[in-house]
Amino acid sequence: MITIPADKRGLTFLDDVVAETPGGERLVHCMQCGSCGGSCPNGPDMDHTPRTLFALIEAGQRDRVLKSNTMWRCVSCYSCTSRCPQNIPITDVMYALKRISLREGVANGSDAPALARTFTGLLDKYGRSFEFGLASRYYLFNKPLSMLKMGPLGLSMFTKGRMSLIPTKIRQLGQLQAIIKKAKEMGGEA
């Protein structure tokens, strides 16, 4: 179990992660059993499995944690969370690490941060997701060579009536944007 000496509380990387995660105080109960990594469908593609990551967090290895790809390989399947014997909200810890790494400008998760930003940028603009816009912008700016491979898929989706070239906008876009603006002011978005 991770224990924090009283005089170190509020000072460690672990505290930062706990503070960023809803229910994050459970993190101190990690007993390094490895159920999380064993359950993770993407464990083999991670720099560190979740179990290792939690040991690194405890050890204050801020850089190694925040620059790793681990959290960016997490697709929120919640297998680890549902199996953790200590009820640590592991998926939410991964979200917290993504946010901290973006905020500190050290995110190193290949194209995942770019996909996240492109997606929410379109949400902010239209109020709805826009799949064609997402795919074209994301591929153009991040992996232009892959656009060729995506062509046939895009075409078949289009011919099946499953891809629109025009975004849908919500009516009260101003209202949504005012909410987003306020939330960002209060939350300090990365």
């Binding site: 993407n42 593609d45 969370t81 997701s129 099946k160 009516r171 209202q175 949504l176 909410i179």
Partner: protein, 294 residues
């Protein structure tokens, strides 16, 4: 029974077959679904990766817009369902956070009291609120002889789960037994499809998709039934790319469970979005379910 309905962005276009079939099936089952007026995108997993307060505020706008006369909200998409439910849960569990969300909502003249709306997944409503007897009563074209592989994915059954087992879910299996189908038991039925990884890392995503297809095929499935647009997209639209990548030859149709439910209720395939799938289901229907082809 009356519910607010949150279709979500995927159901507008890329998974229109889900939306169309949900509405048809709801008519038969007398589920009155009232679409949330002017709903916005739930942000999928992408806003939570950047800013939790904004993520929840964007989602809470939808909860605030639920008709005051309705206290239950139905979402067919797994990600929307989880986001709506999670936001309500976070606001209730952490009142200080809930107050911040409401401060953001106030900038748009809105307010949401945590716990006011109960968020439900469509499968839960069909299974629990309608139930076996009423569903069996509506079956006019039993799915006898069809081998279906129910696929649960992740976000409905695992986090904050309240209606099925997170490790070994069975609700969709049971539902299809009521329809007369031959339900295939396969061990990966709640494993991950890779989610947005198809956009980020082919190698990672395609292996997850391949495992699922292989497991369903190995166990004799004629088709995979989905309850999430992302799962359907990954297994259906990427199936040919997966074949190219691994030199495999999977050709298994992937449909939404509501489409097959509709066929069992005697609704015409064209009204259920049958034909919008990339791997056509028509040959399977023609071979095994007479009278159900377009």
């Amino acid at each position: 029974m009356k519910y607010a309905y949150y279709p979500g962005c995927s159901l507008e276009c890329s998974s229109a077959a889900y939306d169309i079939s949900v509405r048809e099936v709801a008519d038969v089952l007398q589920l009155h679904l009232r679409e949330v007026d002017d709903w916005n995108c739930c942000g999928a997993t992408e806003y939570f990766s950047q800013d939790e307060l904004t993520a929840c505020s964007v989602i809470a706008r939808n909860l605030a817009l639920v008709d005051p006369q309705l206290d239950q909200l139905v979402a067919p998409c797994a990600a929307c369902y989880l986001n709506l439910k999670k936001t309500d849960h976070l606001m209730a569990e952490e009142p200080a956070f809930g107050a911040k969300v409401n401060e953001a909502l106030a900038a748009g003249g809105l307010h949401y009291d945590a716990g006011r709306v109960r968020v439900r997944h469509l499968l839960d409503v069909v299974y629990t609120d309608i139930g076996e007897t009423a569903i069996r009563d509506k079956v006019v074209r039993p799915l006898t002889g069809l081998k279906v592989a129910p696929y649960y994915g992740c976000q409905v059954v695992r986090p904050l789960n309240s209606f099925d087992n997170p490790e070994h879910p069975t609700r969709l299996d049971e539902l299809f037994t009521w329809l007369g189908a031959d339900v295939v038991n396969y061990p990966l039925k709640s494993h991950c499809c890779g989610g947005h990884m198809t956009q980020i890392s082919e190698a990672q995503a395609f292996e997850l998709i391949r495992r699922l297809l292989q497991c369903a095929v190995e166990n004799g499935a004629d088709m995979i039934l989905c309850m999430c647009p992302m799962c359907q997209l990954n297994l259906d639209a990427y199936q040919r790319q997966v074949n190219n990548y691994f030199s495999t030859s999977y050709n298994i149709p992937i449909v939404f469970f509501t489409q097959m439910l509709g066929l069992a209720f005697g609704i015409e395939p064209g009204k259920l979005g049958i034909g919008k799938e990339i791997i056509p289901i028509e040959p399977v229907l023609r071979a095994k379910l007479s009278g159900a082809t377009a």
